[in-house]
């Protein structure tokens, strides 16, 4: 080769230490390329790892734990609902699905609440605010059970007929349900919200760090390409060669690697977001729609069993119903009509007729879900939920009409048929809701699995690609350096 520049004649012995000799420059540029490739490996490896961890935390740790905390509220609300039913039934042991069934289910919910509490206790270790909340619910459970079982005992002893809860038993039950609604249920609900907040924080932090990592990978990848092109051009000028094929291959390899990793990260971030928003968040919102409705339908029993507080129980029934599905309504008659309208119009949703209208639209847990984008199967399932919800309120209308007309027996019978665990309107609503929740859980699990699936090939792929690029660089540079030996 005769390509020595005039100003830097090769001088053996010193050339490797001086940048003005050609082989030293080749070496230096090569080292820059190797460092850049190593940097690319490091940043890609770290970010892919972060993406994997994010999916893992959401899919197998914080996500399922958050789902579990919503069980606590449901179990507690169900306990109080069953107890109200048992008291309302009185001596009518065969009403609806029967007293024994109601007591069995009370017991099952009690066990479930205890399990959910123990679970919550294990999760909240280290957070003193939440720990105290769990402890307070544990303590409250004990006194709730004492009041509730005493109410049952008094009502049994008094041989209270259906619909006419014994006065003393009622006093005791009021204490129990008051405790449930001021001490236990709010705290249980808030614990669920806390775990949602933890999921959100983890998720957003993860998404942010992956997005930042993605930029780093892109930048390091671009810098690597620049270094490789610089090396290529230098070799071309100095050695008057055409293209250095191995270096070109290495450049293309780095380009593909960078683009591939960035696309993978983007995809996995997208799958994770989908799993959280369309899967977990939706499933949790619907689980809350089930839990609050459980408490709501029990207000029918409380309404019938406690005439003195009937106005209040009717009012809270409406308030809870509006949390589940909100339409503007000032009383139950308006609300029944609004629910009919929603169920009939779905998938269209009633809303303000003109922009100045102060109708905020169809909201609440079900309404907000209905506004989101749904897959075909989910849309059918939600339609079924709305229909069963409509039937539940149709039964409520009958129940209150009978009560207003003084036909207590018919009202109690309607109530017990709503709660009938074999074919009642409330269990039908729960079944429809569970089906929809299951679909969203599937979306969640699938999203996590897809995210994992796009990340997995890189476990082996990344080191192999990087080694191949390094080998190509060596292959491209070695013959040129050999000319100086």
């Amino acid at each position: 080769m005769t390509g020595h520049p005039p100003g830097s004649p090769p001088r053996t012995g010193r050339r490797r230490f001086r940048l003005n000799s050609t082989p030293a420059r080749v070496w230096a540029l090569t080292m820059v390329c190797v460092v850049a490739v190593t940097g690319l490996f490091a940043s890609a490896h770290t970010t892919l790892g972060q993406a994997r961890t994010g999916l893992d935390v959401l899919g197998r740790d914080a996500g399922p734990r958050a789902m579990a905390t919503t069980d606590l509220y449901l179990a507690l609300a169900d306990m109080d609902a069953r107890m109200a039913d048992v008291l309302l039934m009185g001596t009518g042991h065969d009403l609806g699905s029967g007293r024994a069934d109601a007591l069995d289910r009370f017991e099952a919910s009690r066990r479930q609440a205890n399990e959910a509490l123990l679970h919550a206790a294990s999760l909240t270790e280290g957070d003193s605010v939440e720990e105290r909340t769990v402890q307070a619910v544990l303590d409250g459970m004990g006194s709730y059970e004492r009041h509730a079982s005493r109410a049952r005992l008094l009502n049994d002893e008094a041989q209270a007929p259906p619909g006419r809860v014994d006065e003393e038993a009622l006093e005791e039950y009021r204490r129990a349900t008051q405790l449930m609604h001021t001490e236990l249920l709010p705290k249980a609900f808030n614990l669920g919200l806390d775990s949602s907040a933890i999921v959100r924080q983890n998720h957003e932090e993860g998404q942010r760090s992956v997005a930042q990592g993605m930029l780093t990978v892109g930048a390091v990848g671009a810098a690597t390409i620049v270094a490789l092109v610089a090396l290529q051009l230098y070799l071309r000028v100095r050695f008057r060669r055409r293209l250095n094929i191995p270096l070109l291959a290495a450049t293309v390899g780095v380009l593909l690697l960078t683009v591939g990793v960035v696309i993978t990260l983007e995809l996995s971030n997208g799958y994770q977001r989908g799993a959280k928003e369309e899967g977990l968040d939706a499933a949790m919102a619907l689980a809350r729609a089930g839990a609050i409705a459980t408490d709501m339908q029990a207000d029918q029993s409380r309404f019938l069993g406690d005439p003195e507080l009937a106005d209040n129980y009717q009012q809270v029934y409406l308030e809870r119903a509006q949390q589940v599905l909100f339409r503007p309504a000032e009383n139950l008659d308006q609300y029944y009509a609004a629910v009919d309208e929603v169920a009939d119009a779905y998938p269209e949703l009633p809303g303000p007729d003109d922009p100045d209208d102060d109708d905020p639209g169809t909201l609440g847990y079900l309404g907000e879900r209905a506004q989101g984008s749904l897959l075909p199967g989910q849309e059918d399932a939600l339609a079924e939920v709305l229909e069963t919800y409509e039937r539940l309120h149709a039964a409520d209308r009958d129940l209150r009409a009978a009560a207003r007309d003084g036909d207590l027996a018919a009202a109690v019978e309607t109530r017990m048929s709503v709660a009938d665990s074999r074919d009642g309107t409330f269990p039908a609503y729960v079944a429809a809701l569970d089906e929809l929740i299951a679909l969203h859980r599937t979306t969640f699990v699938d999203g996590i699995a897809r995210g994992d699936a796009v990340l997995t090939p890189w476990r082996l792929g990344l080191p192999v690609c990087v080694l191949a690029v390094l080998a190509l660089i060596a292959l491209g540079v070695r013959p040129r350096l050999a000319e100086y030996r």
């Binding site: 997005a211 930048a219 905020p360």
Partner: protein
Amino acid sequence: MRLRHRPAAAAAALVLGLSACSEALGEEVSVLDAESITVGVKYDQPGTGLRGPDGELTGFDVDVAYYLTERLGFPADRVELVGVTSAEREDLLIGGEVDMVVATYSITQARKADVTFGGPYYVAQQDLLVRAEDTDIDDVRDLEGLRVCQGKGSNSARRITQGLGIRVEQTDAPSYGACADALREGEVDAMSTDNLILAGFLAQAPDTFRLVNNPFTEEKYGVGLPHGDVRACEAVNKAITEMYQDGTAGQLLETWFGETGLDLVTSVPQFEGCP
């Protein structure tokens, strides 16, 4: 030389681009990040938020506002309280003139479209205030045919007429204070709104008024925050939980309403959740 400079320039451009992007990737802005915080409270409601002759704001909401902002990391000297009316709360919050509203501000679905609510920090209930000598009003149903006063723009009377189907003669006064005056003068037979507000008036004139103490609807007092400020909302919820756990909420309720005979709930309310 040419070749050496280009990568440097490219790298510099990349670094610049990178930092610009990562700023865009940062967390959403929150009122928590500011140096100081401005909180809107009522100034015309005894017990909850009232401006005294010395210009000082006092009341349950005022104390709650100080407790919460302290938990959020703002010492009292970095908290500015502003008196707000019901009508202007929303606009001030949306316009950014206040960062937070603690002003007997009920959480409703309609408001949630513009405001993110932390809490509720208390669930008040609608009740009735009557003259002390009118002992035969025990229940909202006893109002049939009587004159009921409500503050302008309030929904309280509709809840009685539409919600419960009780026929009453409805009077709208410009403020709750004006309602209280009308009640004292015998121009109306009852005033109806949230029991915390009624208890505030009762505490001012315990011999003139009587609280019926038979509530019929729930009013969830929320902490109004700029729409979408989820971080602040979650932090507020945590602070409210602590306010109840450490007994502060109970003490404050006792301080402001203890002598009115109002049934006070001293355990943490069920939160709305941060969307």
